[in-house]
């Protein structure tokens, strides 16, 4: 584009804002070409199915079409909010997801940092590969392993604690509701740290080597380098992932809690998604299930956009 003088620009700005808009569009046509197809795509695949949300305001029976249903306004939501169980599962969901959030953004980063410090290539790559293997083992298997290890009937953890004389009798870890959240978080950490650290490793490898060399010259030690170069270097990636994950606090699935749970810890183990399954689609209450889905979505959106807003206020940058 030819450069205009400041005077010309100001004139343009005041006189014809519309043509400036189109002008810019033309100028950025490649960017538009690269993105518009996806906008259409996302409209079709993500926004169009939203019509299903109408179900939440009806008493949906599959027999009739979506427009011929009995409308019940907010009844489904009222029923949802007056169910004690709903608050229980909400508490469980948030409890476990917040713990999970904290752990999954500290441990993998630490792991990636330490991994980076390893100089032996073979050892480094092997450990990195091994570390993500548990990601591929299904929760069914992992839950079985965890239950066995924590079992009071010859489980490894109890054996270890008793050999070290830390306890006299085996502890039934899986029977204690208060510990359930920690057990779930720890199991998840075991299973996913390796996998979650991959993205941070990638981010770290994008940091300019020159910075490290300069720091060495300045006499910085390992920790100083980590603190002043590596961590800031992955800050953007970290913050983006973190903020986006905040939106997922409320819909964390239910597989691992279901598989690790048992009747003794049921008050701590049931999460919102399981509640939705049991009281929604399994009872053919599509409207109720949809109402829960809407609740989830609304809360998620509020969470993520609030987090982003706070981030913007503090750092003047924005994730979204």
């Amino acid at each position: 584009m030819k450069s205009l003088s400041t005077g010309d620009r100001a004139q343009e700005a005041t006189r014809k804002p519309k043509s400036r808009f189109w002008g810019k569009m033309l100028q950025q046509r490649y960017l538009y070409l690269m993105s518009l197809p996806f906008v259409i795509w996302i409209f079709v695949f993500s926004y169009m199915p939203i019509w299903g949300w109408l179900m939440a305001f009806q008493n949906y029976k599959p027999k009739f079409g979506i427009l011929n249903q009995k409308w019940v306004g907010f009844d489904q939501f009222i029923e949802l909010f007056s169910d004690d169980r709903f608050y229980l599962v909400l508490r469980n969901t948030l409890g476990m997801s917040i713990m999970g959030l904290i752990v999954s953004f500290t441990v993998p980063v630490a792991f990636a940092l330490l991994l980076n410090e390893i100089k032996g290539q073979f050892f480094k790559r092997s450990i990195q590969t091994i570390s993500y293997l548990p990601h591929f083992v299904s929760w069914v298997v992992v839950a079985g392993i965890v239950t066995k290890m924590l079992s009071a009937d010859g489980g490894a953890v109890n054996q270890l604690l008793m050999t070290l004389h830390l306890i006299d009798e085996p502890i039934q870890f899986m029977a204690k509701g208060e510990w359930f959240w920690s057990i779930v978080t720890a199991s998840d950490m075991w299973k996913e740290t390796g996998w979650n650290s991959i993205i941070f490793l990638a981010a770290m490898s994008g940091i300019d080597q020159e910075q490290y060399e300069a720091a060495t010259v300045d006499g910085a030690g390992r920790f100083r380098k980590m603190w002043h170069i590596t961590l800031p270097g992955i800050r953007t990636t970290f913050m983006v992932l973190f903020i986006l994950s905040i939106g997922h606090l409320i819909s964390i699935g239910f597989e691992k809690q279901f598989l690790l749970g048992n009747p003794l810890v049921i008050d701590y183990a049931e999460v919102l998604d399981l509640y939705a399954l049991n009281y929604g689609i399994n009872l053919s209450r599509y409207s109720y299930g949809t109402a829960i889905g809407i609740f989830n979505s609304v809360v998620s959106l509020i969470l993520v956009f609030s987090a982003n807003w706070i981030y913007k206020r503090v750092t003047k940058e924005s994730v979204i």
Binding site: P37, N59, K61, P62, K63, R85, A143, G144, T147, K148, S151, A152, D153, G154, Q172, M174, A175, N262, P263, L264, I266, D267, E270, L277, N278, Y279, I281, N282, L283, S284, R285, Y286
Partner: protein, 567 residues
């Protein structure tokens, strides 16, 4: 990325967008049900032109053979029909049928289990009554007087599903009750085994004398499969069996007034759970009962450490088979109908008449309903029933002096490698129509099914035989009261009563299940003096959840059913 790969990727992307438009229209034809529809049929004319039909089953069958088995091929040849069966994979059957209804596209045949209501509401199932009248003589014959139990409701006397449970089914052996290892019984000299006290004493005595197994592992008195959904089978259902009630699901129905309450509300059952609490208190109950996963439960049993169980044989079969494979027969189990005290009798086998529960239906999208009903009719005929039960003469059984006999190698595969057996022969995969149950004989004097009294004897191990002989009976079922000891339940069995889809009663029911799963284990594991508090809290929770409304609703369902079936 190198230049070449760049080009490749952009090419692929372009191709995608081209294909979207092209394939979009082309694949129209592919989305219809596969296969050729039957050759033009005027009303009901029989053709054996090949036809492929879809059958959606709500129950998973991992041994389905895709009609490649011996029976499958035979059926294909005879009728020209190829059946493609679909199952709910990794999801629930509720989802599968919900999607079906939402998309308004149905396979030819469905076995919807408890989802029938959804399909009927959506108008998806055909009324089979006229089809049976005209083309289903065998179906009529098999159901006999029970045909009247097939109608849908008082307002709608259509027949939507053909129930698949065996008509006039007799149980030849008892698979439930309470189990004790043979070695326990042997060492104690085969004591009387009638009440929970007998049961408890046997366990206690043996455990005191033999606290560890040969490999030094501690023995467990009684282990319950209470960590997963089987809590119903191992912990709560035995409560009504031991207190003289039959299996009516989660309810108890008063036979005279037909009033229903949740069975936990019966005072007798409180005492049963108190006994379990007592067992826990004196250390005879496996502390992991409510924590263990199914695999752990099975491996405990398979290690021979568990002296007693309260379970159904199919639930611990895998573990028992492992013991048998190790030739540790003394550590396998005998079954007894234990009750709370000697005046109570176990009602496991109280008659129901024909249950008429889950079945098969023909949908409105079926390509050729007449041909399908004829297929089902064939399967219900004597020839058809022998086919699906016994297989093909000469291959899976022989007729020796008029008696059907299964050759040893076939029997071996059936017992030891049942999955392969089902897949190759097809026996067990084609129970898709009306049929007689165990114990009914056909016109040749042979049994329709391959389960009959003599068979049971053949399946007993030496340890079983020894124990049975010591008690002077020939099968475990002999311990139980006779089948006709109690009057038949006029409503069949209450667990077959379907809740109205999406009804409030259904929601309350789900809540009671959640409450039960929490409170019952709590009551069992707490200290004895706290037991009543917990159980009272349990009953109160049920009240708060609306159990009275649920009971009233269920009572009405029972009464409606009695009325419907007595017409």
């Amino acid at each position: 990325m190198k230049r070449k790969t760049q080009m490749l990727f952009s090419l692929m992307l372009a191709l995608v967008f081209v294909f979207v438009t092209a394939c979009g229209s082309n694949n129209n034809s592919n989305s219809n049900t596969g296969g050729t529809p039957s050759a033009t049929d005027a009303a009901g004319e029989e053709t054996h032109a090949p036809m492929t039909i879809r059958l959606a089953s709500g129950d998973v069958n991992t041994s389905w053979d895709d009609m490649q088995s011996d029976i499958g091929k035979f059926l294909q040849e005879k009728t020209g029909i190829t059946i493609k069966e679909e199952f709910p994979i990794g999801g629930s059957d509720a989802e599968m049928f919900a999607l079906m209804v939402a998309s308004d596209e149905y396979p030819d045949l469905v076995m919807p289990k408890g989802n029938v209501g959804k399909l009927v509401d959506a108008g998806a199932l055909l009324d089979l009554r006229p089809l049976i009248e005209e083309h289903g003589p065998n179906l009529k014959k098999v159901y006999g007087d029970y045909l009247n139990r097939l109608k849908w409701s008082a307002e709608d006397d259509s027949i939507y599903v053909l129930p698949l449970d065996g008509v006039d089914h007799k149980y030849f052996d008892a698979g439930g009750g309470f189990q004790l290892q043979h070695q326990v019984l042997e060492e104690l000299g085969y004591p009387e085994m009638k009440t929970v006290q007998d049961f408890e004493n046997a366990i206690k005595t043996y455990l005191e004398k033999n606290p560890k197994t040969e490999d030094g592992q501690p023995r467990l008195g009684l282990s319950l499969n209470g960590g997963e959904w089987q809590i119903l089978i191992s912990v709560t259902n035995p409560a009504f069996y031991a207190t003289g009630a039959p299996d009516d699901g989660e309810f108890y129905v008063n036979q005279d007034t037909l009033e229903a309450v949740m069975h936990y509300q019966r005072p007798e059952e409180r005492e049963y759970f108190r006994w379990l609490n007592h067992m826990n208190d004196i250390g005879l109950l496996d502390k992991e009962s409510f924590i263990q996963k199914y695999d752990q439960y099975k491996s405990k049993i398979a290690s021979g450490r568990v002296l007693a169980l309260i379970d159904q044989d199919w639930d611990y079969a895998e573990a028992e088979n492992s013991l048998k494979a190790q030739s540790r027969f003394g550590e396998t189990y005998a079954n007894f109908p234990i009750t709370l005290n000697s005046s109570i009798q176990d009602h496991s086998f109280q008659g129901t008449g024909y249950l008429a529960s889950y079945g098969i239906g023909i949908t409105k999208d079926a390509q050729d309903p007449v041909r399908l009903i004829k297929l089902l009719d064939y399967l219900a005929s004597e020839e058809g029933q022998v086919l699906v039960n016994w297989g093909i003469e000469g291959k899976h059984y022989n007729v020796v002096d008029g008696v059907r006999v299964i050759p040893e190698d076939v029997q071996n595969m059936k017992t030891n490698d049942n999955n392969t057996f089902k897949k190759t022969t097809g026996i067990g995969n084609y129970f898709m129509s009306a049929r007689y149950g165990d114990g009914v004989k056909d016109s040749t004097g042979n049994y329709y099914t391959t389960n009959f009294p003599e068979q049971i004897q053949a399946q007993y191990t030496e340890a079983d035989k020894k124990t049975l002989a010591a008690y002077g009976v020939s099968t475990y079922k002999d311990f139980w009261p006779a089948d006709d000891a109690f009057p038949e339940r006029k409503y069949g069995a209450a667990w077959t009563l379907p809740f109205e889809t999406g009804s409030q009663a259904n929601v309350i029911f789900q809540k009671t299940q959640d409450i039960m799963k929490k409170r019952i284990p709590e009551a069992i594991l707490t200290s004895p003096d706290n037991f009543d508090n917990v159980y009272d809290a349990f009953l109160k929770d049920l009240d708060d959840a609306g159990v009275d409304k649920l009971n009233a609703e269920f009572t009405k369902m029972v009464q409606d059913r009695v009325e419907l079936w007595s017409e």
